[in-house]
Symmetry: C2
Subunit: 555 residues, 2 copies
């Protein structure tokens, strides 16, 4: 068996990076632009196009019980007509159980090597994955490449490293030697990290790899077998990851069913049947809150969720309000507000925002903000690429309905032209002014490019509302602008109690939506937006059980 | 504020001991007999006696809303007539919330110092706690001293050390410096371990300190405030711990309500009201499975349970069967089978047990085992002290009922004399032979001195039954006797999958019931006997949330 010793240095650096939380300290070579080869983009695009209308035959899952696939491109508004092998839940579980008893006995070092080798293989397919992601999620090309490719691989590596460390947290063996006065009691003790069993990873339609690889790699490194249940609308990107893991397993003569793709269709979803199966012990999920809460309540399962939240921006004071407006307009527009970290509720004191250049009124800021949105979406070199396309038709409906919310429409949603995809499903942001009294309206996620500018009495009320939203309805991100250190600490402290990370005073090329692997804990697990965090120690430690055995030392 | 720098070395050694898992490597001085002073025992007994019939006025909890107490000595079968201050759930919660916002801001170093100082103070009261434990739980004097005193303190220190390490797992601050080609994005990042809020620790009647201090100290070190809800039948031992923590808090001018005792009475239990209160975020529980499962299902709470299980002994082969019989007879008799780790189901092949001296038949072993039990309980220098007394009358009823179970009564339960306490509630072990087909009967915990010798087809069936019991009904311990390495590994592997630690081939002065702090994970959290483990990293990491904030470095 190949042990992939070539990855030893990387895994050790990755464990170090978990603790540094800077990433670039452990991987100084990483900021250098990765070289994928001159033809990599064109080759990837060609490979993606060649897969359209065909069977996806890369998976090493024998004897499909059918073939199906219902993906549709938000850019083309046409089906991709790719079909995937289909298996009954019984087949998936049976195969997973068989593979489990082999995979659990592979050493942690070999598991790490195999999984890291799979990431190495996936690296060669980043462009193909990028096009697959664009044409399933509607993400712009840049985001589709980064989020589904290198950034997802970073998150996967982070989960491998976290598991690798946690599995070795305690010794395999130790001599317990207790002096009892006239004699010693000596026991040979051993501790085994025992995987839980079968893990089901349920994907979402907007980030099919980034949000799923942590669960897949986190479960695999800890010795569990995995059934990946992708969203029926976004299969291909994660299917490529699964195929590459299976390739490496096969090369090592291991049962490729250690990870399986379990595809279903919109009309016959298998998620509940899978999740409720007694053999399934671990469930990872990204998606709506109702289904997430149902999963969390299933007895006898360890469940990791990323659900929905209401992300707030607290505007108190700023050095340069124009830079603030530009930054927030971009944060809202990026992938048309379809990121779980996108801002929704902007709290602005009725008295305005204090700045170095004097007070900026609510109305003045609103104008600057909507002007920036309009300027961005109407910039032909930026707008279509930043917006991307709308993944689900329901989001378009929600944007239209938003104009009927109890407030003043400051900016209507429009359709703009995407020069490359004339049929792209597009909706530019809608911006609505709302009073802080309309809490019922802004107390829920309005998924998509929808921004509410909420007029508050003062910053204290803004903080109170942002905290309340996070505690009661969840939050994954929060933006805050203040030049006052006391206000800053108050926001930091209060939002901490609501388990919500705050990005302070972001301007320029960094946005509250972005979460970096090995540094930002994505979702904290401490509020209703989700019960897990990428990747804290609990994210991997809950996937196995420490069991100790002991026996007297032979005299 | 006193920072208790004198404890710095100890906490660092304790963190080391967590990883060594030998304890005595980090604390080589510890095996030396602790010196408590010549009069310590008599002083402690006197202090205990002086507390009888009086108000317990040590707690720094102002304005009691009443006084009550219903403890009763299993040795005297008389009420202790100690009364404790009573508070409404509202008062307890309000005070805890106020204290929370101070306690959470005390640094982890200072929290560790304060908590370790409280253990130092408790050390001076070990004998008093021992008598309090005897006369609430019925434990023998030796166990009452060790389990409620030094061993509980070790477990508390272990929880402090685990929290101390976990809270410092990631840096408080770091510079995230991402080269972007022509410029760098530089963010100052900070990470805060944010406590969850109010923690309720629900005690049990048999181990009122050992089973509760881990939750108390685990929650306090991680910045949560704690309400201790003792079992109405076993309050005094843990009340002394709470009083000593409050003393140290007061000396540091901290709100003593960071830890409160919330006493109730059998006729008006406040446990549900406390547990369901929205401000309560953490619940630690030791007790019956039905209530534990109710707690685990409460939404929005992090719950740590130790419930009940069916502990098995697998008898395959042995060097010296007499030593095995003696060891197991002691394990069953110790504290009259009222330990959560006591053996219940003994699986013996119908063909007997292979030994160095030839085959020992089922019947021969049964005779040796019952003879050893009888010899032990009838030894006036050992029997009464090993047996202790029966905590609850219900246990006596269960022992009587056991004789009607579908099997052959090999040894009847009796009452023996305790020379020191003629009214002691005593029941010696009952031993019943049962066929492996009577699974319905032996598939549940029969709490108390009840042993079932179950005749199996062979060792494979024994293993299968032990595993099935553990997976379906929970198990906290398992004993196994085999001289065959292949059988040993099969047992180790199969019981690992049922998340049950196995003690192999114990003879002499060490028993499967015993679990040592800093070495044995007590309850694994991986089977229905409980969802938590003393003290794995998860046991403390679930008590707080990592929240990261970030801000661009000022140019």
């Amino acid at each position: 068996m190949s042990l992939y010793k070539k990855h030893d240095t990387t895994i050790n650096k990755a464990v170090q990076a978990l603790h540094d939380r800077t990433f670039y300290a452990a991987f100084p070579e990483h900021p250098a632009p990765a070289v994928y080869g001159e033809t990599a983009d064109a080759d990837g695009q060609a490979k993606f196009k060649a897969s359209l209308g065909k069977k996806f035959e890369e998976l090493k899952q024998a004897n499909p019980e059918g073939w199906a696939g219902q993906e549709e491109s938000p850019y083309l508004q046409e089906p991709l007509k790719i079909s995937y092998p289909m298996f009954s839940v019984k087949t998936l579980i049976d195969r997973s159980q068989t593979a489990f008893h082999q995979w659990r006995k592979v050493s942690v070092h070999d598991r790490a090597g195999i999984l890291m080798e799979s990431l190495e293989r996936v690296k060669g397919r980043f462009f193909e994955i990028a096009y697959a992601t664009m044409h399933t999620t509607g993400q712009g090309y840049m985001m589709a490449f980064q989020a589904s490719g290198p950034h997802a691989a970073d998150r996967a590596l982070e989960a491998i490293a976290a598991g690798y460390e946690e599995l070795q947290r305690f010794p395999n063996r130790a001599l317990w030697d207790k002096p009892m006065g006239k004699f010693n009691i000596q026991l040979n003790k051993e501790w085994r990290p025992v995987p839980k069993g079968i893990s089901v990873v349920i994907g979402c339609s907007t980030f099919p790899t980034w949000n799923s690889v942590t669960g897949i790699y986190g479960s695999l490194i800890t010795g569990n077998t995995v059934i990946v249940k992708p969203h029926p609308g976004a299969i291909l990107p994660i299917a490529i990851f699964v195929a590459e893991i299976q390739n490496v397993l096969a090369e090592n003569n291991l049962d490729t069913n250690a990870v399986q793709l379990g595809v279903d269709t919109f009309d016959r979803m298998i998620t509940k049947e899978l999740a409720e199966h007694p053999a399934v012990k671990l469930i990872d999920y990204t998606g709506n809150s109702a289904f997430g809460s149902y999963l969390e309540a299933l007895p006898g399962k360890v469940v990791f969720t990323e659900k929905t939240g209401v992300n707030s921006v607290i505007l108190d004071s700023a050095e340069d309000i124009d830079k603030v407006a530009a930054n927030l307009a971009f944060a809202l527009t990026l992938y048309s507000g379809q990121m779980c970290t996108a801002p929704q509720n902007f709290y602005i004191p009725a008295s305005g925002i204090k700045t170095a250049a004097g007070n900026v009124s609510f109305e003045e800021f609103a104008t600057k903000f909507t002007d920036n949105v309009t300027g961005l979406v109407d910039n032909p070199k930026a707008g279509p690429f930043v917006l991307g396309a709308i993944q689900s038709k329901k989001t378009c409906d929600r944007v239209v309905e938003a104009e009927t919310l109890p407030g003043k429409v400051l900016l209507k949603s429009r359709k703009i032209d995407n020069p490359m995809f004339k049929n792209a499903r597009i909706a530019t942001p809608v911006v609505i002014e709302m009073d802080a009294a309309k809490k019922d309206t802004f107390s829920k996620e309005l998924f998509g490019p929808i921004a509410l500018l909420i007029k508050t009495k003062n910053t204290d009320e803004s903080i109170q509302l942002a905290k309340e939203m996070a505690m009661n309805h969840g939050a994954i991100s929060c933006g805050a602008y203040t030049t006052d250190p006391a206000v800053r600490e108050k926001i930091a402290d209060e939002m901490s109690l609501a388990a919500t990370p705050v990005s302070f005073n972001l301007t320029g090329g960094i946005y509250m939506n972005q979460n970096a692997a090995f540094s930002d804990f994505h979702v904290t697990g401490g509020n209703p937006a989700g019960n897990a965090s990428f990747t804290n120690p609990e994210y991997v430690s809950k996937r196995f059980t420490w069991v100790g055995h002991r026996e007297p030392v032979k005299a």
